[in-house]
């Protein structure tokens, strides 16, 4: 029989200790044996979890699971504990000497919380929940709701340190992490049908907030009601149509405006620099703006003259993606904008893009009417002095 101290060195020193605590005016002494068995249960379950998981199992938290004295006003209490029914979980009904717990921790919890059997059978489950319910919950009472051993956001971040660092250091913050249910606005801490324990697919989660009017960013700027925008604009960008907001946005925070995962030009004009388009080049070929000639990379070409190159790839005043495209959705094909901003008054100048079977045209906006054909035979109109591009 190993000495308790040796077993406790297996990473759970904190939970197993003999101590004195007040309880309704009485002092109770929690037995070492009961919690020791609890620790043993943890060790066994952790080993099982390791067998199932390809990824390494994170070291679980060390929690003090002893009851909080009533004088400290617990916020939540477990009904059996509150009812004094220690023997539902322990060997004895005696609060001063409850004895060992009757089963391994999770098996014991599932006796009453048997609906969690179904929950935990979801495709993706939280290692902490699989290993041991007491990774996050105190089985007696707690200073937090839901018997949580710590405030929910802090509890998650105490293990998820990478996210914690990101949240702390991000220049652009996401309110979803600090408001309402915090992490649980998007994640289910037990199990889910979506990776990363997301309660729904990213788009469905995002529009939960960003599908309303009046949502503001951290600087107070009103953000687009995406539900409304998408309902009114049927031509959607691939990731939007695929309902994958996280393809471009980092939900935990970041250093780029609008929580973009990588750089994207915020301006209408910019000298061409591939770095500015890092976000776009996660999916789109850089050659679409690098190659002056192509017959395959884009349909926006006049014969083999690549018109993306013509518009974007300039040392000065190159048009950025946003000059012609809406990033989320538009009424026109290829997310071509209806209009572009002109001057400082907010006046919107119509683009007048028309798509044809063999190409398209833009009329009377940045330049006079120009048409293009993406057949190999160039059909470009003759350029006259009056048709020189003008600034929008």
């Amino acid at each position: 029989m190993p000495q308790p101290e040796n077993i406790l060195d297996n990473g759970r020193k904190g939970i197993v200790r003999t101590h004195r605590r007040g309880f309704k005016g009485r002092e109770i002494r929690t037995t070492l044996l009961s919690l020791l068995l609890l620790a043993c249960g943890y060790v066994t379950l952790a080993a099982d979890a390791k067998k199932d998981e390809a990824a390494p199992v994170a070291k679980m938290r060390k929690n003090d699971l002893t009851p909080i004295p009533d004088l400290q006003k617990p916020v939540s209490a477990h009904s059996p504990y509150q009812d004094g029914d220690c023997s539902l979980c322990h060997q004895n009904k005696d609060r001063t000497n409850p004895g060992a717990i009757l089963k391994q921790v999770n098996a014991l919890c599932l006796d009453c919380h048997d609906d969690f059997g179904k929950v935990m059978a979801r495709k993706y489950s939280h290692v902490a929940a699989r290993v041991n319910c007491v990774s996050c919950h105190n089985p007696h009472n707690a200073k937090q709701p839901k018997l949580l051993v710590e405030e929910s956001g802090a509890l998650c971040l105490s293990c998820h340190t990478t996210i914690s660092n990101l949240v702390t250091n991000a220049k652009v913050k996401h309110d979803a992490l600090t408001s309402d249910a915090k992490c649980m606005n998007c994640h289910n801490p037990h199990a889910a049908n979506v990776e990363h324990l997301l309660t729904r697919l990213p788009f469905d989660l995002c529009v939960g907030c960003h599908g309303k009017d009046g949502i503001k960013d951290q600087d107070g700027k009103v953000l687009t009601n995406m539900k409304k925008l998408l309902a009114e604009n049927p031509e959607q960008h691939g990731p939007v149509a695929g309902k994958d907001c996280s393809a471009c946005h980092s939900p935990h925070g970041g250093n780029n405006f609008r929580l973009l995962t990588k750089e994207y030009p915020a301006q209408f004009y910019s000298p061409y620099d591939p770095k500015l388009y890092d976000l776009c080049f996660d999916c789109h070929e850089a050659s679409v703006v690098k190659d002056a000639k192509t017959t395959t990379l884009t349909k926006f070409r006049n014969g083999d003259q690549n018109l993306h190159f013509v518009h974007v790839n300039k040392d000065e005043r190159g048009r950025t993606c946003r000059a012609c495209h809406e990033v989320h959705a538009s009424k026109q094909k290829h997310q071509i904008r209806d209009a572009v901003p002109y001057g400082k008054t907010g006046y919107m100048l119509k683009v007048n893009f028309i798509q044809t079977a063999t190409g398209g045209s833009c009329a009377q906006t940045c330049h006079l009417t120009r048409s293009y054909t993406n057949s190999v035979v160039p059909l470009a109109p003759k350029k006259t002095d009056s048709e020189q591009p003008k600034a929008p």
Binding site: S79, D83, V194, E285
Partner: protein
Amino acid sequence: MRRLAYLAAGGMLWSLSVLAFANVPIGAVVENVSLPTLTGAPQNLLGDTNVSVFIFINPELAHSNQALAQIAACEKEMTGKPVHWSAVVSDRISRSKVEAEIKSVGLSMPVLIDQSDALYGKFGVVLHPVVGITDQNRKLIAYQPFAKVNYKAFICAQVRHALKEITDEELAEILKPTAAVLGGEASVAHRFLRLAEKQFQVKNYHQALANIQKSLEKNPTAAAHSLQGRILAAQEKSAEAAAAFEAALKLDPKDPAALEGNKGTKETAK
């Protein structure tokens, strides 16, 4: 209810079917081509199998890199099934770079070299990575763009659906999984019921009744009323027990415990 689920599944699949290659819509027949591969010997884009899966990738782009490992895992999972797999990369991309990436993720499908992006242009690919799936008649039946979340599940489900291993409804459930919302009143009520059952077993009738009352307040079920009846009967409160059993039978006329309890209380009354 089932009809509604089918309608929802159909709606989901329809909304996904609007996504496709710019030049090859869903339902179009894909022309088979033979292209040189990384290993040299030319290979067909599509096979003679029930299902062909082709993937346009560019290992120089971040999302293609993220996707490759998941595509490789799906390919492995589908080993032995009548599926022809092929990956397509542009000849502009360094061969050593492609080889290194393919090796690192363990992709075993042939990698076709798209010379001068001819196939890319023919399909109108636009985004990388993207997966196309054809049936045995070489008709394009599915198009799956990259997704940061659940990508492997999406790809595998699309292939299984093409193989007719899963139904439209099952595919829709994978493409738009049921929300995993936390708890709810019914769930809490169920826990009070289970606790009351345990307290009843150890003859702690007072607490059992208190907890069954909490359960009933949150979600009145036949099981909760029935247990309430059994506790009251054990306390020899026959009239109240009979009322509880009646309440249970109103919700579920076949509740066995309520039927038996009701019979018992009537006999006691006699």
